[in-house]
């Protein structure tokens, strides 16, 4: 009897559900259902393309704006320092040339030099051309001594962080090593950012799609964003080179190395893209490297015969400029010995940003020549 009673009690205890347990279980079910409903509501996509939207495009900063506002009307736009062929052996002499070229941009009596362009605490992105796995002697890449000198000047002006970056055609690590630019940059305490596709981000160069009729090539395009992301200033250090397709690779063509994606398709409209690159980038400063000028077989070169020290100028030159368009026409004429009237992308660039009030820009370097805004000095 007692046995029976107990088993009955056990039975009811084991099969029955207490009120407490029922509330817990019921509550859990309701909570789960509610969570599912909220989740569905959050993720609900009536059209079906919400997951397909590209990430929002980034706008490139104006790295020149502040300088433009304070740039004296009497200060030169282009300043060249010529050296001597034997200076190529001496990093110090190259550094003197760079300093003299940048110092030449001061108005009469001024002594700001690099401090006009770089302020204390700036993060500076330096963009040399490191396009190929070739030694510095072959002139296919920027002279590492020039890069070194520019970094040193930026440091002097109090730059906090200096990033050296390029997206080369050949293996980035190899290009940076062989060109001597990695060693030069790291010796001066600058960071080298080796490109990976993951570092690119879509940058909106102009709203909408590019219009080929207006010689446009870039709308929104993946740009090597990692080094630019935190940069306050951008300095381009292009070597001056012959180019098989676009005639000459100089300051504006140098920004090609910031493009990611399938950038090789742009060769189908090379003048459009180069002038677009000039349109896209408002650099703080251009320091053109006219030390070893590639006169033929560009842009790769490969033999000593392909280069000439200082090009047709005959003396190694460093050209500092605040106007990348005029700087290109100057280098084309003075270093490569070619006529700027024959270079189509200069015309397109003028059409695109010639009237841009936020820049200092001239159609031809000779427009500066008359008012004395081109200075040339020998070091």
């Amino acid at each position: 009897m007692a046995n029976n009673e107990r088993s009955e009690r056990e039975l009811s205890a084991s099969s029955g559900v207490t009120r407490r347990e029922m509330l817990i279980r019921g509550g859990a079910t309701v909570a789960l259902a509610g969570a599912a409903a909220i989740g569905a509501k959050l993720l609900y996509d009536p059209v079906g393309d919400a997951g397909l939207q590209p990430p929002p495009a980034i706008q490139l900063k104006d790295y020149f704006g502040k300088i433009k506002a304070e740039y004296p009307a009497s200060a030169p736009r282009i300043s060249t320092a010529f050296g001597r062929p034997e200076y190529l052996e001496s990093p110090d002499k190259i550094a003197q040339m760079v300093r003299a070229a940048i110092g030449g941009l001061d108005e009469k009596g001024g002594s700001l030099g690099i401090r006009r362009f770089i302020s204390r605490g700036d993060t500076v992105c330096i963009k040399p051309n490191v396009g190929f796995d070739r030694g510095p002697a072959l002139g296919a890449t920027t002279n590492p001594d020039v890069v070194r000198a520019v970094i040193r000047l930026c440091r002097e002006a109090g730059a906090k962080r200096i990033i050296v970056a390029d997206n080369p055609i050949e293996d980035p690590a190899a290009c940076f090593a062989k060109s001597g630019i990695k060693a030069a940059a790291e010796a001066e305490g600058a960071e080298v950012v080796i490109h990976a596709d993951a570092h690119d981000a879509p940058v909106q160069v102009r709203p909408g799609s590019p219009d080929p009729a207006r010689h446009e090539a870039l709308g929104t395009w993946p740009i090597f964003w990692k080094p630019l992301k935190e940069a306050d200033k951008v300095i381009g250090i292009p070597p001056i080179k012959d180019h098989n397709l676009c005639f000459a690779s100089m300051g504006m063509k140098n920004w090609y190395g910031l493009l990611g994606g399938r950038r090789n398709q742009f060769h189908q409209a090379i003048h459009n893209i180069i002038s677009d690159l000039g349109f896209m980038m408002k650099p703080t400063l251009i320091v053109a490297d006219g030390t070893r000028v590639m006169m033929k077989n560009g842009p790769t070169g490969g033999r000593m015969e392909d280069i000439r020290i200082g090009g047709v100028a005959g003396a190694p030159a460093i050209v500092a400029s605040v106007d990348q368009l005029a700087c290109d026409s100057y280098c084309l004429q003075k270093l490569l010995g070619r006529d700027p009237a024959n270079l189509q992308y200069l015309q397109f660039a003028w059409d695109k940003f010639g009237g841009d009030a936020s820049r200092i820009v001239a159609r031809h370097w000779q427009e500066y020549h008359g008012p004395g805004l081109v200075v040339e000095a020998n070091v």
Binding site: D171, A174, A177, A213, N244, N264, H271, N297, G301, G302
Partner: protein, 628 residues
């Protein structure tokens, strides 16, 4: 300290060393510290199976392979200690077997009893060695060092790379950025059929749950080699039958399944010393020259099965050679790294370790599947859709442990200095598919190939050519000395075509591309002028000053008259290739914007210098038979 603790410490050090060597086998590291090239292949060089098998195929012992004596000699004294002390692949299996173990003590004892299945490795070894005598080196398929190198290179490290990359990106713009930068190893490599190698490794690791040390006990040809050599070892595990209570606890963690509880199978024992640790009665010891009747000295190999294995190895030679992939039906996709020896010699040397693939800075080297025939599985070939052969780089030859890729210098590769007489190493030759090439077939300017061509002078050159634009044949409506107004060419039966409707300045050009109009006069003469611009139906070829002199452009020699024919051409650069200068680096193919599975410019192995001395062989097919 217990001997097994010592062993675990040694194993940890060895594994760390091995992983470090694999990790630093990159162009960047070797470029900075060239001396590393001496170290990174040491594990492959001490591998006696590699040196034995390559000596059989090549009748020589390549440079660093003499290091295998470092391993061979102690094996003759101590037995198969390599498998449980040095072998990184063995360490991986032991570690994962321990980590994922689900067996209780009794099941462990049963899983570690010797099985006849363990003979298989000897038959595999016999097959490989017999094939080697015929010049087919296949040990790399299963040699543990090669296999692990390959798996790490083509699947594991790229996978880790992808993972660390995502972590690195997650830290961007946060305070952790500096740490994130350390994790940024660039874009992960891609490897054709890397997933096969990866899953194979995973399968072999997972098999430890079915049979502990499955690979080591059942498949490993290096283990088999060392097992045979262990026959002569002076030391071995010895059981004292007086102390032994037949509890079988020594089997609990026996790595090799070598029957320490009875007569020791010398060829199976990994010398891990676990049995000595596990024996509760101190019945086991590592003894010098114990009694011969207490051991099974020779591996358990059936003669008939061995004969069958040998037959398999024997047949592999004609079967693979008669597939023709190394002879008449050779594939021109088999483009070997710079410095490679001729194909037949290459297959005698390449152990498929894929170190060259790891060190290659551009990812162009890929493990082959069947392109090079059944013998060439996982040997390195170039895929120019993924990468290209970098001009100033010979990293692959620096790390090749067997000389399949010779240790050449950059001067030798480029044919500079003392090598000027020999000329550069050519991997193959580039060709154009004119039907796909943008300028040749589609009237679109391009020549990226010429831009990137790294030789000097460039092997790819271009010439300006005039090509008729679409519907470019027109009929003249009227003309002035510097303009011409055009109509479409009339259809049959039509006296005169419709007036043209050009877009404004459609034919102005940009100096890289220019447009020209050719006038064909009724008297049969013709003249061609560059077009300066156009409006809806009229082309402008020049500008005149007030006196009628040309100030810009040109003017017609004979003013065209109504009804004459005009043709509008565009002129731009079309690429061509100088096969004498082309080195087959593939940079043009890599950068070609026609991105389909066949680029408009592509490299084949034709013209490769490594075959040039072998006039009798099928691969010797140069593009020009006669030079000069």
């Amino acid at each position: 300290m217990r001997i097994t603790t010592v062993r675990i410490i040694v194993q940890t050090i060895v594994m760390t060393l091995f992983m470090t060597f694999v990790f630093i086998t990159t162009f960047a590291h070797l470029n900075e510290v060239p001396a590393l090239a001496f170290w990174v292949s040491k594990f492959l060089e001490i591998d006696p199976l590699v040196s034995i098998a390559t000596s059989i195929t090549t009748h020589t012992l390549y440079k660093g392979l003499a290091w295998s004596l470092v391993l061979l000699i102690p094996t003759l004294f101590l037995g198969r200690f390599f498998c449980n002390w040095i072998c990184p692949y063995g360490i991986l299996h032991q570690f994962t077997g321990w980590l994922f173990n689900t067996r209780n003590a009794k099941a462990k004892i049963d899983s570690n009893r010797y099985r006849r299945l363990f003979q298989v490795k000897y038959y595999i070894l016999i097959g490989f060695i017999v094939a080697a005598f015929f010049g087919s080196l296949q040990i790399g398929l299963l040699d543990p060092i090669c296999l692990l190198h390959r798996s790490l290179t083509v699947s594991i490290l790229p996978a880790l790379n992808a993972g660390s990359n995502s972590l690195s990106q997650a830290t961007e713009g946060t305070a952790l950025r500096t740490y994130g930068d350390w994790l940024d190893f660039g874009d992960p490599r891609v490897h054709q059929l890397g997933w096969v190698v990866g899953f194979l490794l995973f399968f072999l690791v997972a098999m430890n749950l079915v049979i502990p040390r499955f690979f080591c006990r059942v498949l490993c040809p290096l283990g088999a080699t060392l097992g045979i050599l262990s026959r002569f070892s002076l030391w071995r595990i010895e059981r004292d039958p007086k102390k032994c209570t037949d509890c079988d606890l020594c089997l609990q963690s026996c790595e090799g399944a070598s029957d320490p509880h009875t007569k020791l199978r010398k060829s199976e024992c990994f010398v891990c010393f676990n049995c000595i640790e596990d024996c509760p009665h101190d019945a086991l010891s590592f003894a010098l020259l114990p009694k011969r009747n207490h051991e099974v000295a020779w591996p358990d190999i059936s003669k008939r099965r061995a004969a069958l294995a040998a037959l398999g190895g024997l047949l592999f030679f004609p079967f693979s050679k008669l597939s023709g992939r190394t002879t008449r039906d050779f594939s021109t996709k088999v483009i070997r790294p710079p410095g490679s020896v001729e194909e037949l010699e290459f297959l005698e040397r390449c152990i498929k370790c894929d170190q060259c693939i790891r060190v290659c800075p551009t990812n162009v080297l890929q493990p082959a599947m069947l392109e090079a025939g059944p013998e060439g599985v996982w040997t390195p070939i170039m895929n120019f859709r993924i990468g290209f052969c970098q001009l100033n780089c010979t990293a692959c030859g620096q790390v090749c442990p067997t000389g399949a890729i010779q240790r050449i210098s950059v001067e030798q590769k480029l044919g500079l200095g003392p090598y000027e007489q020999d000329g550069p190493v050519k991997l193959g030759t580039a060709h154009y598919d004119l039907g796909r090439c943008l300028p040749w077939a589609k009237n679109i300017p391009c020549v990226v190939c010429e831009e990137v061509c790294p030789t000097s002078p460039k092997a790819i050159h271009s010439e300006y050519r005039q090509l008729l634009v679409r519907d470019g044949k027109k009929q003249i409506v009227s003309a002035t000395p510097v303009t011409v107004t055009l109509a479409d060419y009339p259809n049959p039966g039509q006296a005169f075509g419709e007036r043209c409707t050009f877009k404004p300045n459609e034919y102005r050009g940009d100096r890289t591309t220019s447009y020209h109009v050719q006038i064909i006069h009724r008297d049969g003469t013709s003249e061609t002028h560059a077009i300066l611009g156009n409006d809806g139906d009229t082309l402008l070829i020049g500008e005149l000053d007030e006196s009628g002199e040309v100030v810009n452009g040109s003017k017609f020699a004979k003013i065209p008259v109504r009804g004459e024919v005009a043709a509008i051409h565009l002129e731009f650069k079309v690429p061509k290739i100088d096969t004498e200068l082309c080195i087959g680096c593939g940079l043009c193919e890599k950068e070609c914007p026609v991105v389909g599975d066949r680029r408009a410019v592509y490299v084949t192995a034709e013209g490769e210098t490594r075959s040039q001395q072998y006039l009798e062989r099928d691969r010797n097919r140069s593009l020009r038979l006669m030079k000069g």
